[in-house]
Symmetry: D2
Subunit: 292 residues, 4 copies
């Protein structure tokens, strides 16, 4: 329980609403800044203005997942105006206050450092990345379902990369009955792939492996599906690339060869905002709780 | 291989194209009637008119999956006009010819009986129903993904009915990480559900079980999700009803209570026509092969 | 709950002790006949002599799983002497009393019929056979582990028969990472095998399939692993035959060819008597409960 | 293929035989030293004496998995006498020769360093540890089966530690139908446990979690199942401790409390020597191949 803790929320999207609900359930006090258009409100949360007073005794300041832009503005899906956070606000925060965002640019990094505040970038945490791999994988699979005329079951599916997303994706695809080949470069990853009952191949052999693929999922943020490789991919194969922009696919060449290739960013917030919010809420509340 | 066998196709949809391709791969001869708008054609298949001569030596006559209507008309997604099959056509068929459709109404049943021809209703075959349960289950899950803000993983999902579709659906959902409760009325089904590691409950206890469901999949073609039961279902629960029309849900009451409930007919042909065609092709070619 | 019900137990083994414990937990009254050597006793159960009076008001009579022999004797692992049940005992039972055994020979069948009593042969019930398939499958796998120098994971394992035991065995082996081929004769079973992601083959092709098997599990109570077939099985393959005696293997020929083949009867009672007892207890208590 | 490569084997056990066979299949030349009692021999391998000449042109020297003792002796299951390797032998090896063992003591480490030879300790490699986790996990499960009267299916099983062995063990147990709780101390591990659909708990809460355990598998090489914790473990719970000696269990206290606790070292070589040998063979041949 977080009884006695006070958390200030400044802007955000549907995922942040889920975080607010979760913290209130844990009995934390919640003040909302920049949620004026949230008509129904959230029982137990109080809408307030962004003032120095309101920030003076908070244990945590929760920013939008995108953090602040380089002028200090926070986006909010629930506010007409924009909200700007500046030195005066950060200097109002108590020294023990933790600041939470998903990612952070130089502005946010520097202002926290300047005021001696602990900044937690949730998306950088391994545990969040692993749990987020679940909605990511489901989103990628949903896209594959929507864009093929075959079932996942029985499909010859490839997963490139065996990090946090790759392992989850491979596991779910196999569980659904796909014939999964997974590519990685580390021998330890290849061993784990085999342990999981899947077919493993070293990424350097990618070209020899793609010849009969029906669906390729890429998770590697590096140019792996190059023109050379794509030339050996069957024309009716579908590529779902979830790696961070610009992905790992030569999209220009794919299009020229007539291969459908889709870049799929930000899946958790799109396909399962509630689950994505709960993931953040779980980690965030643990951080507040452990800080004593 | 089906070398030396001749198969006539009269109308149909994308699934029938898959059947044609598969049979040609097995070296059967294929004549197509009512495919005039199929511009590219299918290598190895010959488009002909619907004539008595063309039917005189065929080993199999493949009709659309919906069969014939009560005036003998066959639908075709690849023909401008409609095609009508009458006594003259059936009497032209050799006595050893097998007639294939998905389902059959009285007209088709009677005309086959009259001419002493074996009619195979593919959709009635247990093996087809089981394999079709795969695209059906994936289609239902895709709909659930598209209509919720949570992941299948971790969701409290219910499956009503443990026949051919129910077993497949429950297995895939659990494999994806859902917390699956499955309801059936036969003790043997309840035992199999437990063997598969899922939570089993007798359908008569349905009312006591729905209180915390997030997604309910119904496969029972009988009124099971009645108003009484729906009154105990949480408002934000999603219902996907795949049972044959009119489904097993009181849709009127569901709407009144604000529960989203979707009737989802004909999923295999919609979400995975190629796989659905391959399933039919596999069974159909075995029937032709086994008939000697 | 079974409050107010009285159940008499006459002999049995470790599994029956589990049944007794379970019924007492459900608040049934339990009288034990032929448990004199059970020193500790079971809290809540009363040891009595086998008398007409003691039987006069029981709702259920639970015999050993093997039933009675042809002279009416019941075996007991917990009694020095033997116990004999005759007409006088059965005529003492109230007409609503149900008689439970695992299996039944003519003596038991006839005596129940003569006295108009309902006889429930638990081992004949589909639900018990399905739940029993779990300890059976685990026992067979344990034997395979103990008798090979390879892991189940990655092994080329075959399962013959896809009934209640075959399905469970195939599912667990695949889950453990074995490469499972399952053989059945019904097209519907072959379809279900494929749905489960395993390799299916028709039993008539068995000879063509065994050439690289490392472990073969047989569940078919008919001569399927004949000399003809065994001649094509690799010499270092292990056969575990769980079908009821004499199994489905030509053991004489297997030995001659140097193939290790083990007949494995009565696994549940041997490898997991507690689980086996709980399975029986669950079904038995439901029967008593439903009889009103 | 390893055509043209020459490998010398000095002693070893059943696993090494598997390595020899595998390398011969890849067309490597194999000379065996200290295999005099291996009567049948291995086709393609040549038994020779341990001489400086025989070592002069080898690409790899494969020692027993236990390495050499502090006087340079190598154990062999296939030799009456003992074999001693000294400076003269190592100095005979070409500079490009790789030396393989499972583990290594100071003698072996130093003699390799002295002669500028690359020493590969196979058991230290992550990929070997991961693949070895498979026979380890199966061996642990086999022991649990042999020492309980319940099935793995449905059992309340705990896995302590989520490293290479812990992940594999948890995955297989869950696949077999156990209700698995896995304990780890890293938030990322807890996240992965949840992703895999299992119940995760932080090791610091171990005491609160053990109250209803039926089987506990420990993989943590540190005192985790202390007297304090064991006092809360049910008396009929079985503990299988696979952590390296002395394990993570207070065996003395466990015995005093009447809890069965088994230390289970060296499982791969015991339960599946052939698989264990193939794992080593795969990695070893890759090292030889990659060294050019
Ligand atoms: N679309 C979305 O909604 C979404 C959601 C989450 C994550 N993502 C993105 O998806 C990507 C994967 O995320 P993650 O959490 O799985 O990351 P991760 O755990 O770091 O995994 C990345 C994988 O790529 C491999 N890799 C990196 N560079 C490589 C190269 N040059 N050649 C071969 N393999 C290479 C890594 O192998 P090594 O271990 O050998 O380096 C690892 O297997 C990231 O770009 C991430 O931003 C997208
Ligand atoms: N939407 C689609 O794309 C699609 C695709 C395939 C099938 N379907 C439809 O889905 C439904 C299920 O197909 P299926 O192949 O799974 O059929 P099935 O194998 O016959 O299974 C039907 C299940 O419903 C149960 N059931 C029937 N009447 C019941 C009642 N009054 N109360 C309780 N349980 C009852 C059956 O239990 P018992 O065994 O105890 O009778 C069985 O478990 C059918 O209506 C079928 O037409 C739809
Ligand atoms: N060792 C033990 O501890 C233990 C425990 C439980 C059961 N059992 C024994 O194991 C056997 C299987 O039990 P179960 O419960 O799985 O029985 P089941 O459900 O009746 O399954 C039997 C399987 O064998 C097939 N089969 C029967 N005769 C055949 C034939 N002539 N050719 C090809 N297939 C044939 C059946 O196919 P169809 O459906 O096509 O007929 C079915 O797939 C029985 O003998 C049973 O007594 C032993
Ligand atoms: N019996 C056999 O046949 C056999 C076979 C293989 C291995 N083993 C032995 O089994 C053990 C595990 O092997 P492995 O390959 O899985 O090793 P591993 O990958 O290093 O895993 C060890 C696990 O123990 C955890 N751990 C270590 N110290 C801990 C502590 N003080 N408190 C809580 N957790 C702690 C680690 O957590 P962190 O990641 O947080 O450190 C990790 O999860 C080793 O002792 C190994 O020698 C035995």
């Amino acid at each position: 329980m977080l009884t006695g803790k006070k958390v200030a929320f400044v802007g955000g999207d549907a995922r942040i609403l889920e975080v607010i609900r979760h913290l209130i359930e844990l009995d934390a006090g919640a003040v909302l800044m920049g949620f004026d258009r949230l008509e129904a409100g959230i029982p137990g949360a109080e809408k307030v203005g962004l003032t120095v007073e309101a920030l003076a005794d908070v244990d945590a300041l929760v920013l939008p997942l995108a953090g602040l832009d380089e002028e200090g503005y926070a986006d909010s899906a629930y506010s007409a105006g924009r909200i700007r956070l500046q030195d005066e606000h950060f200097s109002a925060l108590p020294s023990y206050c933790q600041v939470f965002s998903g990612i952070a640019g130089p502005y946010l990094e520097q202002i926290c450092r300047r005021h001696g505040l602990r900044l937690v970038k949730l998306m950088d945490l391994d545990e969040v990345a692993i749990l987020n791999s679940i909605p990511t994988a489901e989103g990628a699979i949903q896209m594959a379902m929507e864009n093929t005329d075959i079932t996942i079951h029985g499909s010859r599916s490839m997963v490139l990369g065996f990090g946090r997303c790759g392992m989850t994706l491979a596991r779910i695809l196999a569980a659904m009955g796909a014939k999964v080949k997974a590519g990685a470069r580390k021998p330890a990853d290849l061993a784990r792939i085999r342990e999981m009952g899947l077919t493993a191949f070293p990424m350097k052999d990618l070209g020899d492996q793609v010849g009969d693929a029906e669906i390729i999922f890429n998770t590697i943020p590096a140019p792996v599906l190059t023109a050379d490789i794509l030339a050996r991919v069957p024309r009716n194969c579908l590529i779902i690339d979830i790696a961070s922009k610009p992905g790992g696919t030569d999209f220009r060449y794919a299009q020229r060869r007539g291969i459908r290739a889709l870049l799929a960013p930000s899946l958790p917030g799109i396909v399962a905002p509630k689950t994505a919010g709960q993931i953040l809420a779980g980690t965030l509340s643990r951080y507040i709780w452990e800080s004593g």
